[in-house]
């Protein structure tokens, strides 16, 4: 090979240049709307600045925002709430998702239809899900769940006392199918012959799960959990909707406010842009760690296969 390739028609180009030429359109987009905002956000976290007054010059304050945010009791509460939310929601999703994946591991009539219907919640815009559940299911006067729980004699207060349960259940409703889908994907690699052999050998369901199915499912369970933990750092819409419930019905904000919603409040309610950027930088680092863990693990699995 000459190292030159035809691009199209009469245009020729060195192959080693071509690969960079192909990167250009995407890189322009990333540079303009992802990298510049990253750099700006990182930079502004060292300044005192608010977007409320457009054009006001930022004042350099060094690490002061980081010091403020580290000593702020508010933010530690948001960390705790985020962790509490992530552990509860992902825990429920894992149990249900694993159960469903195992239930769906054998094919039956209508298998594919069931699978597709099961994942519908993930397709809906999170904001729409949040709004619909807030108004149609959890509204204290005519919400369906309030009526259903009152029938069985429970005092359910999805807007107030039980708000945490409400937002976790909306999250579980939406994302259990994701965990299910990941594990179903993992289980598709269990060789049929191995399963049949264990049947013939008379292994009980627990032994089959523990020694035959689980080893295949485990990497995917772990990937799903890391993925969902990263997602918990993005869960905003449902929290925003619940924080937005007009008083006197609304929840105690301190009980459900999490990092993304705190970020939004700082940026667009309090207009503390530089403090928001500070929290944003910390969240980017947290996401980066999760993404890196996920990829390391993913690549290790791929190497084994």
């Amino acid at each position: 090979m000459s190292g030159e390739v035809f691009l199209a028609g009469p245009f020729r180009i060195k192959e080693k240049h071509l690969k960079y030429l192909l990167l250009i359109p995407g890189s322009i987009l990333l540079f303009l709307f992802a990298i510049i905002p990253y750099v700006w956000t990182f930079g502004i976290s060292f300044y005192d600045y608010s977007i409320e007054v457009f054009g006001r010059a930022p004042v350099f304050v060094g690490l002061q925002n980081y010091a403020t945010m580290a000593s702020h009791p508010d933010i530690w509460l948001r960390y705790q709430n985020t962790a509490k939310f992530a552990v509860t929601a992902v825990g429920i999703e894992l149990l249900l998702g694993l159960g469903l994946a195992l239930a769906l591991s054998e094919h039956f009539r209508g298998h594919r239809l069931v699978l597709t219907l099961s994942i519908l919640p993930m397709m809906i815009a999170p904001e729409i899900t949040a709004m619909v559940f807030k108004v149609i299911m959890f509204q204290p006067e005519f919400g369906f769940l309030n009526w259903a729980t009152s029938i069985v004699g429970l005092q359910f207060d999805g807007y107030g006392r039980d708000a945490f349960f409400a937002v976790v259940s909306v999250d579980a409703w939406t994302w259990t199918p994701f965990v299910m889908l990941m594990i179903v994907g993992g289980l598709s690699s269990v060789p049929k012959s191995v399963l049949e052999a264990s049947h013939v050998d008379g292994a009980g369901w627990w032994a089959r799960f523990r020694y035959v199915i689980f080893p295949y499912a485990r990497p995917f369970i772990l990937l799903a959990v890391i993925f969902r933990f990263a997602d918990a750092l993005r869960t905003w819409e449902v929290i925003r909707e619940w924080l937005d419930v007009p008083p006197p019905l609304g929840p105690n904000p301190l009980s459900i406010d999490m990092l993304p919603s705190y970020l939004y409040t700082l940026g667009f309610r309090a207009f503390e842009t530089s403090q928001m950027a500070t929290v944003g930088v910390i969240m980017v680092v947290m996401s980066l760690v999760l993404v890196y863990t996920y990829l390391r693990y993913l690549w290790r699995i791929e190497k084994v296969e």
Binding site: G26, A103, A130, F144, W173, V291
Partner: protein, 289 residues
Amino acid sequence: MLSIPRFALIGLWLFMVLFPLSWIVLTSLKSSEVAVSKIPIFIFTPTLQNYEFGSSIIDPHTGEPVFAGIAGQFPRFLGNSIVIALASAGIAIVAGMLLAYSLSRYKVVGGTALLTYMLTLHAVTPIVFTPALYELFKRIGLQDTHIGLSLVYATFALPLTVWILKNFFDGFPRSLEDAAKVDGASTFDILFRVVLPQIKIGLVVAAVFAFTVAWNDFIFTLTLTETKAATFVFLADYFDDLLRIGVLAPGPLASMSLVHMLPSFVFAFLIQRYLLIGFSAGTIRREVD
């Protein structure tokens, strides 16, 4: 055949998924009095009045229409959503396809870093970027424009399209391309006539997920648009405003939400075997059926 516990678990889950969805359908067909009944009403005379988008909601306390200005805009917002989602999916597919092809076929300096960076972009909450984009948009005059919003959505859909398409390119045998090259085909001939026709399904999956990024987003339409380029998801903000003044309108909310969900549901059935690829952001290439 399904054993009883399996059947029970699947049945329970299907009920949990389908009941709220059916309840939304029922609510969307209810008149305003029926919809706010304290005891749920299952049998009623259905009405299509909630599907007349653009008609404003009547405040039951005063009998006056409220927020008529915004209500009339919703048919246009729906149009905005369609135009912007299609445009951003188109941009993301073209740019992502070229980028993925390069990363799949050549050893590019910093290629792995770029892939990792893009996955981070997908993982991090877009709220982090909004003040920066708000400032940027103000400076370059993209605020409240269709093109501005489309470009931002294309950027945030790019990680998905690149990861999904790279997987499909990786799975395509190189020998076929080399054969075409020996025959004197140009790179673009090879890409468009040899490779892309074989990975059509990958393009469809990537396009669907790119479309969904724009279609389902709320934060950018909330912060980067006012009324001109706002998308249909803006309806949530509108109903929040109604709630704030004490107007409950479950019927119209249900009908509009349902219309917003429909395209996504159609997509789910269209690419059902490939949903795991998209939802794992292209990281896991497994067909599920």
